[in-house]
């Protein structure tokens, strides 16, 4: 924008803001004055944008769990501190961070199905580097691997214009193989380096909560401000919603998509560290991390993220992740056999997708 166009005109792209209007902080016309009126008014703009409806479902489910647990503290031990800390502080944060990763990328209009393979590879690099060169280099290497893997996927998708579904599905096998290539088939394990700072940072039990929950809060707040209040987040929504319109207004759509892939990779790399520290060992080519691919996308979809891009919310995604983990936890507590769990999660996802489709029409 600093270039002056040839000829007599100065820089043209200036925003002619009517500053008087700003100083008065005029409310848009038609906005009610009373508190409840305003609340009602603002509510109608939140409806159908993802977060509100799913939050109601979560609250209802939570209330049900609490009641069930109060009635039968041993039969349905939801309120048992160990259970609470395990679900709320361990399972939910990891899935929520991965859901945010997948969700932000989906808002930009792309998918990355190599998420699980990326976790495995980033976790292995994190484990190996921190064993050899210390925690801080390990963290940098782990997150760096996540970003690099996602960026390579992104470059393939953005410049060849192959649908990201296919490109990243293929790359997923490549990255899985890369994990075995650098580590061999035996598990990569954290030994002495896990003690102390690393454990404290990523997996410490503070009694009522664990380190992971703090990380989710930090990442959640940052992600919210980035996606919903920062101009780059705004560009991600624009590119996912209508690439032609974004292009016409000179948003660099390729750059924005690559940025989304990089953010995705950074969050996946970070989640890989949380997983590695919690479990102490990672199996290359294992299914434990592979499962996260679809669960992360599921969390995003349940949280109101559109499969076609342009729509989604940070709060919705976190709530979606919490809902999936709570359903999983509830089934475990009710002593349902393991394979029922995926069955129920599957149904939840499909219902959520249908629900979202219906709400999309209601959004205003």
């Amino acid at each position: 924008m600093s270039d002056t166009p040839p000829g007599r005109r100065g820089p043209i792209l200036e925003v002619p803001l009517p500053t008087e209007a700003i100083s008065v902080r005029r409310k848009p016309a038609g906005e009610p004055e009373s508190f409840f009126g305003r609340m009602n008014y603002n509510l109608q703009f939140i409806r159908g944008r993802g977060a509100l409806e799913i939050s109601i479902v979560l609250v209802v489910l939570l209330a049900g769990y609490v009641i069930a647990s109060l009635i039968s503290p041993t039969g349905f031990a939801f309120l048992n501190p160990n259970n609470l800390s395990g679900v709320i502080s361990q399972s939910v944060p990891v899935l929520a961070i991965l859901g945010l990763a997948a969700g932000i990328l989906m808002i930009s209009g792309e998918f990355d199905l190599s998420l699980g393979a990326n976790i495995t590879l980033s976790a292995i690099v994190f484990i190996k580097t921190s064993e050899a060169a210390g925690l801080w280099l390990g963290i940098a290497a782990g997150i760096g691997t996540g970003v690099a893997v996602a960026l390579i996927n992104g470059i393939i998708v953005v410049y060849t214009k192959i649908p990201s579904f296919i490109a990243t599905l293929g790359m997923s096998f490549f990255w899985m193989g890369a994990g075995i290539f650098i580590n061999g088939t035996s598990p990569a394990a954290l030994t002495t380096s896990r003690e102390g700072t690393m454990e404290y940072l990523f997996a410490h039990n503070f009694g009522s909560f664990r380190s992971q929950l703090v990380w989710l809060l930090i990442i959640g707040v940052l992600a919210w401000f980035f996606m919903h209040r920062h101009k780059l987040g705004n560009h991600i929504f624009a590119v996912g919603g209508n690439p032609a319109a974004a292009e016409a207004i000179s948003i660099k759509t390729k750059r924005v998509k690559l940025m989304s892939f990089a953010i995705f990779g950074g969050l996946v790399g970070f989640a890989a560290i949380l997983i590695a520290v919690r479990t102490s060992s990672i199996q290359p080519g294992g299914t434990a991390t592979e499962d996260f691919t679809l669960f992360a996308i599921a969390a995003a979809v349940v949280g109101g993220t559109s499969l076609t891009g342009g729509r989604g919310s940070v709060i919705g995604i976190i709530v979606g992740a919490a809902l999936i983990e709570l359903i999983r936890n509830g089934l475990l507590l009710a002593k349902a056999p393991g394979f029922y769990i995926t069955l129920f999660v599957g149904v939840t996802i499909v219902i959520a997708a249908i629900f979202n489709k219906l709400m999309e029409g209601k959004a205003r």
Partner: protein
């Protein structure tokens, strides 16, 4: 005489063996409203795409304020302040009106965070003042909740608000209600006073005749007519648009 804002000379466009534009030349003066008329397939859209830098021309030269431009591409047209409002796909339906108006030109603090309240207030002003749009309650509404005409009007309001130097409007009135159309045409006239040039691409000769200083009629990829408003009439334009060069000749001979 001062140089024209945009002068194009001998522009041609071929898609394979098909010649879509054939040696077209014209000028757009500063503050001038130019009507670009013609039937479907006359080459209007291609010309619009070339002027807005989306499509490369096969041959031809471009001059901006008398200076030659090597290549019209998106970067150049953005820098010069050319804004095109295409028939559709100007807005992101899943985003609010405010966010659409400020898309790519967000009002931010120095860390890049958007000033939502200010943007909402300005957007409300833009909606009130630029194009009177019936039925929009708040700039916080999603564009997907608007009718086609309302969305079009928002896109126009946006371009007008950012005072680009050359506005290319591709069939802007096709989806607008009568009152919104009147408001838009009125605003184009107003733009003239502010030195903003515009090109109005339309089928509707009456709309064009109402506001345009000059009319360019295209037919089968050629410019067949380029007349100031004083020198022509709706009837003559109709003859040229409907019947092409033959119709124009017949009209001028008095046998149309």
């Amino acid at each position: 005489m001062s140089e024209a804002l945009l002068r194009i000379e001998g522009v041609s466009k071929k898609y394979g063996p098909n010649t879509v534009l054939n040696d077209v030349s014209f000028e757009i003066g500063e503050g001038e409203v130019v009507g670009l008329l013609g039937d479907n397939g006359a080459g209007k859209s291609t010309l619009v795409k070339i002027m807005s830098g989306v499509v490369d021309s096969t041959a031809g030269d471009f001059y901006w304020d008398g200076q030659k431009i090597d290549k019209m591409n998106r970067n150049v047209t953005e820098r010069l302040g050319v804004e095109t409002i295409f028939q559709d796909s100007a807005l992101v339906p899943q985003m609010t009106i405010t966010r659409n108006i400020f898309m790519g030109r967000e009002v931010t603090n120095r860390f890049g965070f958007m000033k939502m309240k200010e943007m909402d207030a300005v957007a409300a002003d833009v909606l009130d003042s630029v194009v009177t749009i019936e039925g929009i309650k708040s700039p916080k509404q999603l564009v997907s909740s608007l009718s086609g005409g309302q969305a079009q009007a928002v896109a126009i309001a946006r371009a007008v608000h950012f005072k680009r130097s050359l506005l290319i409007l591709d069939e802007p009135t096709s989806a607008l209600a009568v009152r919104a159309t009147e408001a838009l045409l009125g605003y184009l006239t107003q733009l003239k006073g502010e030195g903003v040039s515009s090109v109005l691409v339309t089928h509707n000769l009456h709309h064009a005749f109402q506001v345009c200083d000059r009319h360019i009629v295209m037919n089968h990829g050629k410019k067949i007519m380029d007349a100031r408003r004083e020198d022509t009439s709706v009837e003559e334009l109709t003859a040229a648009v409907v019947e092409g060069a033959v119709g124009l000749a017949r009209f001028r001979a008095g046998t149309f």
